[in-house]
Symmetry: C2
Subunit: 420 residues, 2 copies
């Protein structure tokens, strides 16, 4: 297809999504949950077709020489398909935020106002290699009454098509409005550009993938974009920290799952406890296979590689930790606000006043006192499901659950009040 | 200045705004309110300088041949300066949303979570001819702990500079952090482009002005933009409406202040009451000088000009009203969702079930039952102040008060919890 044909096809999908959204907003929670359960069952029944399609993607990926990690993200098996279906059932069991009265009040003239949660409308999801996103994102958006247009990466196109088809077919039988869940059936690069121009029909785009993808979308999109950028997370070990607790928190934050955005990347240590604390934490980290990169003052206490300026702004996503000795809480806060990514940062201390000062002055989505950074997660927060961890300050900040996929409207009731 | 110099100057301002924002976020409500009162007093003391500067703008505007309405928007006098200062005192008296605990809960592992309102950070305001926006926008952003960069239109540059200087000087003496309120001191067009590129330093841009300005910003901005687009507002008069109430609501919605976004533009009338209702409402509207443009079925009942397709999508901002007869609530809702601007729409009816159906199916920021559309307003909603009426679905929808100028962060406290 040429670019004009791609744009026309995407525009037609976007218009249909808008029409579907109006129908979706009228579905009851019971109806939506019944459709979700039907989609889960449909996905399970389609396991054979899905795995067959996935095998095509894997074969193409191997031919193209994709790396082992990439192929692993791409690969589905019976257990993974079953887990995706289980995820749909989990979403069906969650409370529906749509219709919730967020606030209500009355004005002196007798008007009664309500702020009520409603669906956003239409959501574009642009993602890369994991085919499970097709289902995960679509069902979270559907549960909240939104229509989705999914645009996945070319490596997973056969798998994505098979999953979308299974959801659409099973959903349709159970009453899913047509075009409520659409997958862009081709992977021309210009389809991303086209989606970014559909601000009349698409209310928001959520890119799920690497920095390159996000930046492409941000540069082109005319509608709001909810970004999920890096997590350069810090733990600051204050002079009043319990050293044993601090070691446990640092080790857990760094090593429990190093490849994710809420993993620890930089450790800050108060100079007053550096000599005592650094050898203990270094021993525990090295035992877990972590490579340490320290500032000069760190290297005066423990043996490790040298950290340079670049390290302070790097999300390793690997068993590497940069370490800096600081003279004060203020220096720690300033380092975090300057070099961090405003994602998740933690203070370890027994001093309540300093803990509160840290929580109030660190400009991050999640600020923690004495808990592992790995808890920055929708499931761990109790949201039941998560579409990602937003690095936005507007609309949704930090872990995003169902509520963050809604908008609101003001409903005002009166008896003929006029303005004078 | 050439474009490179403009960009460098704007970037330096944006960096300074970010630094100021971190200081602003730490100010207590009492301190902020004291600074606001000092700024109000400072503005009053500077009345002579402000009026002198304003006279330059007016002279330049007259020379350039600006229209009467434009010159009126531009013109300040003692009463207007006093009103601006009064507006600052009003903002000082409002409750501060920053620090509010929106929700708190505990997890099974003992972690305590709080979702707490915090400032957004840095806000760019790009506006056109009204010099009062310099003060109005800056103080709303300041009250909520945000740093602002204001970029006003060239017609008001002398007035804007004088107002900004008065606020900055009086504020500084009372403890306003440096660079908390900055005005771009030049009006090169490239300064708008430059602001739109500062996504590293500016968290959001709010354009205040016409559609052309908003579209320029949307096309260029890399950060979120809170748009205030048209209001194509509807009143739907249902078969079960009290006709006297309906006439009053239509007349008030249309004529009480026709030049604003919450004024009525299109009247929809149920066919079952068209013959009885249309003559009554037409008489009342014509008495107020309103020009009527009706669909064919309207013109079968009353004499008026013909409405064409374009009328259904036009925000007249004038004493003109388009009228359409519809066969059902569904047709009214569908017309509104298709042709409206998702701003404010009202049903007049005595039938509760139909009223609720309307409120739940119209996809607009404000949906009203039996009240004038003119109530779609931050002050009328009880927000105490308003930065505008957002046509966004994300972050802030409808009237925006102080709360909509905040973000939030999650503060989590524990005793060493780790993730397993």
């Amino acid at each position: 297809m040429n670019d004009g044909e791609v744009t026309a096809a995407v525009e037609s999908m976007a218009q249909q999504a808008r029409a579907a959204a109006l129908k979706l907003s009228q579905l009851s929670t019971e109806k939506k949950d019944a459709i979700l359960r039907a989609m889960a069952a449909g996905l399970r029944s389609a396991t054979a077709e899905i795995l067959e399609s996935n095998a095509k993607d894997i074969a193409a990926g191997e031919e193209k020489g994709l790396g082992k990690a990439m192929l692993d993200r791409l690969r589905l098996d019976e257990a993974r398909v079953d887990a995706i279906a289980g995820g749909i059932e989990q979403v069906a069991s969650l409370p529906d935020p749509v219709g919730e009265v967020m606030e209500e009040w009355e004005r002196p003239n007798g008007m009664r106002l309500q702020q009520v949660r409603v669906p956003i409308g239409t959501i574009g999801i642009i993602f890369e290699s994991r085919p499970n996103v097709t289902s995960d994102a679509a069902v979270l958006c559907f549960k909240t009454g939104n229509a989705t247009i999914l645009r996945g990466g070319s490596e997973a196109i056969h798998s994505n098509r098979a999953i979308a088809k299974a959801l659409q077919n099973a959903g349709a039988e159970a009453g899913l409005p047509e075009h409520a869940i659409q997958l862009v059936p081709f992977t021309d690069r210009s389809s991303v550009t086209a989606l970014c121009q559909m601000d009349q029909w698409l209310d928001v785009i959520i890119p799920r993938g690497g920095k390159g993808l996000i930046e492409t979308v941000v540069a082109q999109a005319r509608m709001p974009v909810i970004k999920h950028y890096d997590g350069i997370c810090h733990v600051y070990v204050d002079a009043a920290a319990d050293e044993k607790m601090a070691v446990d928190l640092v080790v857990n934050s760094k090593t429990q799952k190093p490849g994710v955005c809420n993993a620890l990347e930089t450790l800050l240590v108060d100079a007053k406890v550096a000599e005592s604390f650094l050898p203990k934490v270094a021993e525990a980290l090295v035992a877990k296979g972590v490579e340490l990169r320290g500032c000069e003052r760190t290297r005066a206490v423990i043996e490790c590689a040298e950290a340079n300026e670049e390290d302070w702004g790097t999300e390793y996503l690997d068993l590497i930790l940069s370490i800096k000795v600081v003279d004060s809480l203020d220096e720690a806060v300033s380092h975090i606000n300057t070099h961090g990514s405003h994602h998740t940062d933690c203070i370890v201390t027994g001093d309540e006043a300093r803990a509160e000062a840290f929580l109030q002055s660190v400009d991050s989505a999640c600020v923690f006192h004495n808990v592992s950074t790995r808890f920055a997660d929708g499931e761990e927060f109790g949201f039941g499901a998560e579409i990602g961890i937003s690095t936005e300050k507007l609309h949704a900040r930090g872990p995003m659950g169902l509520r963050e996929l809604t908008s609101y409207q003001y409903r005002v009731r009166g008896e003929g009040q006029v303005r004078s």
